[in-house]
């Protein structure tokens, strides 16, 4: 290999271009040393940590929070996340093998305890930085992962099919400063929630310096605005190219400027939240981030799978706020978890649980002004025909809260984005 002499222009002495290509190829090639694919997603996004720079002043104040969404993909078992101590015997009777013993739960209130793997979150609760919203769902909840994911991303009702995501629709109404992406995803798969009516409103970045290098010899394009299918697909690729070029510099700068502090563990969700912390500390100014965690689809062997996932989640969130607090940014940033559905009360025969409906959502940050469980306890004895709990709070009221109290949208815009009059919840922010 490497028989070629150069690639830029016709100057035979251009060795640096060769070197760059070589690096590109060898960065891929080191994958070979790992077994089939193990840990590759973590591996690929590993980057050297840059030295510290002075802090950039955060511009966000008041209801202008930075929102970090953590999607728990596959349907998180809410009943083993927030254990219903208020009806424990009934819960236990339905989950003979999978119930969390009372004494092992991490007590939040008299009625509720957390899964023991979520212990690192207890300190956030104690500091008044954690809110749990109970029984969140929607009418006629779909038991299909994909339909329910669509419902949550597009903020539709169960029988409504939308192409754009709720944050995509929101960001289409918002101007961003030059070079600052409105939203970023650090996830293997992008989410529909940032799809705009025309163009995606987020940037998916796994490795900021790599992105910057790759855009060096790329060109910006004018959009054709042609109406043909071909024209539209090309315009889509053009706009992704343009975004990569427009934003890669500031992303890289912020990434290198922000420095992680404190102890982080080594797993994908932690690694991705670390990157978010670097962007925020580097003063990037992006308003919404999304990372994803999973697979929470625990049809079998739930016990250890769920424990591992929750532990990684709790450690990551804990370390994230420790890190932010070093620059006193814990007030600027609100983390929110969501999942396409919860899981069935009664366990199945393979030490797992099947698809359910309503489940709790968790929010974090000092901006929440105190810890609390919002909403009534879920009724474990009044189930629907499929044996699932009934929802109490519509997820769109949570979105409305985030839009109005977190991102500073007014009520009219919130209604327009969510396609309905969903009043924000009190007592969240």
């Amino acid at each position: 290999m490497c028989e070629h002499k150069k690639r830029k222009g016709l100057d035979l002495s251009d060795a640096s271009a060769h070197e760059k290509d070589h690096q590109v190829w060898s960065r891929r090639s080191f994958l070979k040393t790992s077994s089939l694919m193990a840990g590759a997603s973590f591996f690929l996004s590993q980057l050297p940590i840059a030295s510290a720079y002075a802090r950039n002043k955060m511009s966000s104040k008041g209801s202008n929070k930075i929102i970090v969404l953590i999607e728990l993909e596959g349907g998180n078992d809410g009943l083993n996340t927030l254990i219903p101590l208020y009806d424990f015997d009934h819960y236990k009777s339905k989950r003979k093998r999978l119930h969390i013993p009372k004494h092992q739960t991490v007590g939040l209130t008299k009625e509720y305890g957390l899964h023991p793997a979520l212990k690192p979150l207890k300190s956030l609760w104690d500091k008044g930085m954690m809110k749990v919203i109970n029984g969140v769902g929607y009418p006629e909840s779909s038991l299909s992962h994909f339909r329910s994911k669509d419902v949550w991303s597009t903020s539709s009702s169960a029988n409504e099919f939308l192409d754009s995501g709720w944050l995509g629709r929101y960001f289409e109404t918002v101007d961003n400063p030059k070079g600052i992406p409105k939203a970023m995803e650090i996830a293997e798969e992008g989410s529909q929630l940032f799809e705009g009516k025309a163009m995606p409103q987020s940037l998916n970045v796994k490795a900021p310096t790599e992105l910057f290098d790759a855009t060096e010899d790329a060109f910006r394009f004018d959009l054709s605005n042609e109406d043909s299918l071909y024209g539209k697909e090309l315009d889509f690729i053009r706009s992704v190219t343009n975004s990569a070029i427009d934003y890669s510099k500031s992303i890289k700068q912020a990434y290198l400027k922000g420095k992680n502090q404190g102890k982080y563990f080594r797993n994908d969700i932690t690694h991705h939240l670390r990157q978010v912390a670097k962007y925020i500390k580097g003063g990037l100014g992006t308003r919404v981030y999304r990372v994803s965690h999973g697979d929470f689809d625990t049809h079998s062997e739930q016990s250890w799978k769920h424990r591992t996932l929750l532990q990684e989640l709790a450690q990551a969130i804990h370390a994230f706020y420790e890190d932010l607090s070093k620059m006193n940014l814990q007030d600027e940033v609100v983390v929110m978890t969501y999942s396409e559905f919860g899981r069935r009360l009664e366990e199945n025969g393979s030490e797992g649980t099947d698809h359910g409906t309503a489940a709790p959502m968790m929010l974090f940050g000092t901006a929440l002004g105190g810890s609390a469980i919002i909403g009534d306890p879920m009724n474990l004895r009044d189930l629907d025909a499929n044996g699932n709990v009934k929802y109490d709070i519509d997820f769109r009221t949570v979105y409305s809260t985030v839009l109005q109290h977190g991102l500073g949208a007014n009520a009219a815009l919130s209604h327009q984005v969510l396609k309905g009059n969903f009043q924000p919840l009190n007592g969240i922010f």
Partner: protein, 482 residues
């Protein structure tokens, strides 16, 4: 100046049957071809080519089974009692290479195996066994263009599927709905299309009793099977696994045929469905008792398939992007490791073979493109251009690419246009792009050279000019669609 090509006349199919059209067909049903093969194919009629593609695929032998195909878990035990992970990885790697090689060598069948692996999704990380991978892959290959109902019967009882969707843990005490739900929602009927939660629950009961033994055997344990009566699609009976599939195809045959035809249309023709064509495909499917070959014959011979409005509308998947590039550049893949590099490159850009992100598979189309994936696609394509495979004859090879496309030696614009026309499905779409392309091609040569006619393609180092042009084309959106 391009080669003059034989024109094929037909009332229903495209009048202009030329390299561009053959290229379109082969980029859609396979992973492209080397240039000369495109030219050769222009001599047959489109109908003939479609029949040839399908008949050849039906006649292809299955992959030769590896020596380890029936190894039990015990065979991987080291003397210290631990698992020989290295050997497991090696065998899995062997079959990964076999699969990628199949895409490159078998064209249409390779494409179908990839397609079905994204329909009947399993994930390697849920079973981690070369034997299970082998068995799963074998079914996809055997039924790639075979009988769809038969494929449904067989795939559901592969160890890989039983592990992935918990069939092996499904027992009469407390049934597990996972496989039953996806069988209907994703594999046969489509979401909310003629079934209820009740049907799912009852089908789960009927599917109880299967277990996976020793990595390569599926067993049926009567004690774990629910013998009671179940009501499925309104029919009550003591249904078993086979009964359910029979019932499903009897009661919901029309829905299945339409859903599968739609899925095929989306993958091979266009994401925007033409319901008229889909109905014709579904009709063929039902008339031929769920055989797939007639369905593809209908689609690939339909004028709609060749319509200009759907050309270039498909965003290439990583495998389509890289393998088509290799084929069209006329590169031979001499070493097996090179196939593995393609596997890694596809993984790196969002298409992890045998491990899609979830049971719905890769979403495809726009989902292949985001800032990370797009820029990595550029990098991988550049890697293929400059460093992949044997590049000892780099100049000769690139000069050959240009030579077969044009006889022009002096006019850089004509040379550029011939190369552009070959790699981009519908050419350049914006006026300033040709100017930029020619600029890339001219590189840092003094403009005077071209003006005075001193430059020609046979000069030393002109292959770098060709490389730089291709380097530029790789980064155009047009390169990423077909």
């Amino acid at each position: 100046m391009t080669h003059s090509l034989p024109q094929y006349e037909s009332s229903s199919l495209p009048k202009e049957w030329n390299v561009k059209m053959v290229q379109y067909l082969y980029r859609r049903v396979a992973f492209g071809l080397p240039y000369q093969e495109y030219v050769d194919k222009t001599e047959s009629s489109p109908e003939q080519i479609v029949d040839d593609i399908i008949d050849e695929t039906l006649g292809l032998p299955l992959s030769k089974r590896p020596r380890w195909y029936n190894w039990s878990e015990k065979k991987y035990q080291l003397s210290n009692g631990k698992e020989n992970e290295k050997l497991i990885d090696q065998h899995t790697r062997e079959w990964t290479i076999e699969t990628v090689k199949g895409m490159f060598d078998d064209g249409f069948r390779g494409k179908l195996v990839l397609f079905w692996s994204n329909h009947f999704v399993t994930s390697y990380w849920h079973y981690v066994s070369p034997q299970m991978l082998y068995q799963y892959h074998r079914i996809l290959q055997e039924f790639a263009l075979g009988n769809f109902r038969e494929m449904v019967i067989r795939i559901g009882l592969t160890p890989a599927m039983l592990m992935y969707l918990n069939g092996e843990a499904n027992n009469k005490e407390q049934p597990n709905e996972n496989y039953a739900r996806e069988l209907l929602e994703l594999f046969t009927l489509g979401r909310d299309n003629g079934y209820t939660q009740e049907d799912i629950r009852e089908i789960a009961r009927a599917f109880t009793g299967y277990t996976v033994e020793d990595w390569n055997e599926v067993a049926f344990n009567d004690e774990l099977h629910d013998n009671g009566a179940k009501t499925i699609f309104g029919k009550k009976g003591n249904w078993t696994y086979d009964d359910v599939i029979e019932l499903l195809f009897e009661e919901r045959g029309r829905e299945i045929a339409e859903y599968i035809s739609r899925t095929i249309y989306k993958e091979f023709a266009c994401f925007q469905i033409d319901e008229d064509v889909v109905q014709k495909m579904a009709k063929a499917m039902i008339e031929h008792d769920f055989e797939l070959a007639p369905v593809f014959r209908v689609l690939l011979k339909h004028p709609r398939f060749y319509d200009e409005s759907i050309q270039g509308t498909k965003i290439k998947s990583p495998y389509e992007l890289y393998l088509t590039f290799l084929n069209e550049l006329g590169m031979e893949i001499k070493k097996e490791e090179y196939f593995y590099e393609i596997f890694e490159s596809a993984y790196y850009t969002g298409q992890a073979l045998f491990s899609p992100p979830n049971v719905a598979g890769w979403k495809g189309q726009r989902n292949w493109i985001n800032s990370t994936r797009l820029t990595r696609r550029w990098e991988v394509l550049s890697g293929i251009l400059y460093q992949y495979g044997d590049k000892s004859n780099f100049r000769e090879w690139l000069m050959g690419v240009a030579d077969q496309l044009t006889d022009e030696k002096h006019n850089p614009e004509i040379i550029c246009l011939a190369i552009i026309d070959y790699f981009l499905p519908l050419g350049l779409s914006q006026p300033n792009e040709l100017e930029r392309a020619v600029k890339q091609f001219k590189g840092e040569w003094d403009e005077e050279l071209f003006e005075n006619g001193w430059w020609n393609l046979d000069r030393e180092d002109t292959h770098w000019q060709i490389a730089m042009l291709i380097h530029y084309l790789i980064r155009l959106p047009e390169f990423h669609v077909c």
